[in-house]
Amino acid sequence: MNITRHNYEEYFILYIDNELGSEERHQVESFVQANADLKEELDWLLQSRLVADDSLVFDNKEQLMKISDAESIKTTNYEEWLLLYTDNELTAEQKTTVEKFAAGHPAIQEELDLLQKTKFEPEQALVFHNKELLYRKEEKVRVIAISWRKIAVAAAFLLAIATTAFFMINRNAGGVSAEIAAGNSPGEKILPVKPGKSTNVTTDQNPPMAAKSSETKMGRDETIINELLAIRDKKTAGKEKNSRPSPLLIKEDAPVVADNNSVKKKTNDLPEPKYNPNVNKGMGEDNPIAKADIIIDESLTNSKENIQAPVVTPGNSQSLNHVVTVASVESIDDTDAAPGKKNKLRGFFRKVTRTFEKTTNIKATDDEDRLLLGGLAIKL
């Protein structure tokens, strides 16, 4: 450090602020002695320092002090100690000190006793009844992980069941119709239907039935026969409630009456009259309605005779010996089973829909009264 007349001011200030070491302070003092004209300047700077006024003091420092021991309890502040004692906020040692202090001052002791009386004791008789309301049990959600393979197996299983059920229903429906066609007369000979097996078709003059013979319209005639059989099956269904479902059977040589012109009635969904002879009124010979049920009733009652050789008698001298093939019988079954199955399913779906709509208040069908199925959701 080298103090010169050019930098002495900085050293003087550091000297006043007591920021210099003893050696540096000594150098500053030596420099001032060597330069007497600068001593006055240093004295002025020294006088600019502020000195603390010791006469200024803070009274009642006790107010700021924290209660750190029981010795500080006095007659001036005992109340807080009593309250702390009552609130049990004191240590065991402090409590003892308070008790000793109160014992020495009867008035304070009385006040302490009074404060002790203000303490509340919980009423044990006051209990929360029906705690069961408060008990809880966790609902654990079980997540069953299903892999795509399991889903595939399940789908295949369902498909197999559905397919089996479909064929079973079809077979049952076919069996019923065939059995109805064959009748349930005792001793009736029932033969299984074999492909290629033919049956004769009879027509009768009275009641009027028409079976227009036309070899060129053989296929059309078979269709007509099927229709008539369907009508007859409908009519006899009510009577044949006791009939057992059986495999696809047909009574051998069951007489069937057909009208080749009745194809036009196929499109009519109205129920067929059973024994109404007026059905053919105004239809003329070209469009007769078959009376299949009457003939069938005869066949049911006179099965032995009918087993032999059913004769087809044309109603209007137009004889026709139609041969009903097995294929046509099968088609009878199909045409017969379809509406029944449809009705059953429809009834089932309607019941399900009504139940669903009652419970959920959600309309399950659309504007055209169609039930929409779907929306299967599987969480993966």
Binding site: E80, T118, L126
Partner: protein, 161 residues
């Protein structure tokens, strides 16, 4: 907090919370509702509640639930606390108790809660502060003020008698 700890908490503290609330509200059905709501809230938040601090949590929830209820309903029915038989059996003790109950009823909601938390459950100033949302100093001041008020009421009644 597990299901078992929760149900143990119900078993242990339901009566305590109920006493605290019913003494504040002086209406049993409302107190039951508050207690039920408090437990329901604790059940919903059981994942965040430490079983060790379940009592403190329960009292905190119940206290605030009670304050909300008081502000909402503004309905306090003074309940007849004692039966006629008990009065006859122990008249002096019950008299003091009754006077104290009356004195308690004269306190403000906050002061009453502080006194009950202190006397019924023995909570410290700090714990009471945590439950009520007050600072420790506030708890101390309010509680001391309440205690002096109770004492003065007792002195006044004794002088009257």
């Amino acid at each position: 907090m597990t299901e078992r700890e929760y149900n143990e908490c119900v078993k242990t503290y339901a009566d305590n919370v109920y006493r605290f609330i019913v003494k504040n509200l002086r209406h049993e059905e409302d107190a039951r509702d508050v207690v039920q709501t408090a437990f329901e809230k604790m059940w919903r938040n059981r994942e965040e509640v430490d079983a060790q601090r379940s009592k403190s949590y329960l009292f905190t929830v119940a206290y605030h639930q009670m304050i909300d209820h008081i502000r909402k309903v503004k309905r306090i029915h003074l309940k007849e606390e004692f039966s006629e038989g008990s009065k006859i059996q122990d008249r002096p003790a019950n008299n003091l108790k009754k006077v104290l109950e009356e004195a308690l009823g004269r306190l403000g909601e906050t002061q009453r809660s502080l006194v009950l938390l202190k006397d019924y459950e023995g909570y410290s100033y700090e714990e009471i502060g945590q439950i009520t949302g007050l600072s420790e100093s506030q708890v101390k001041v309010y509680l001391h003020r309440a205690r002096v008020q109770l004492k003065d009421y007792l002195v006044k009644i004794e002088n009257v008698i």
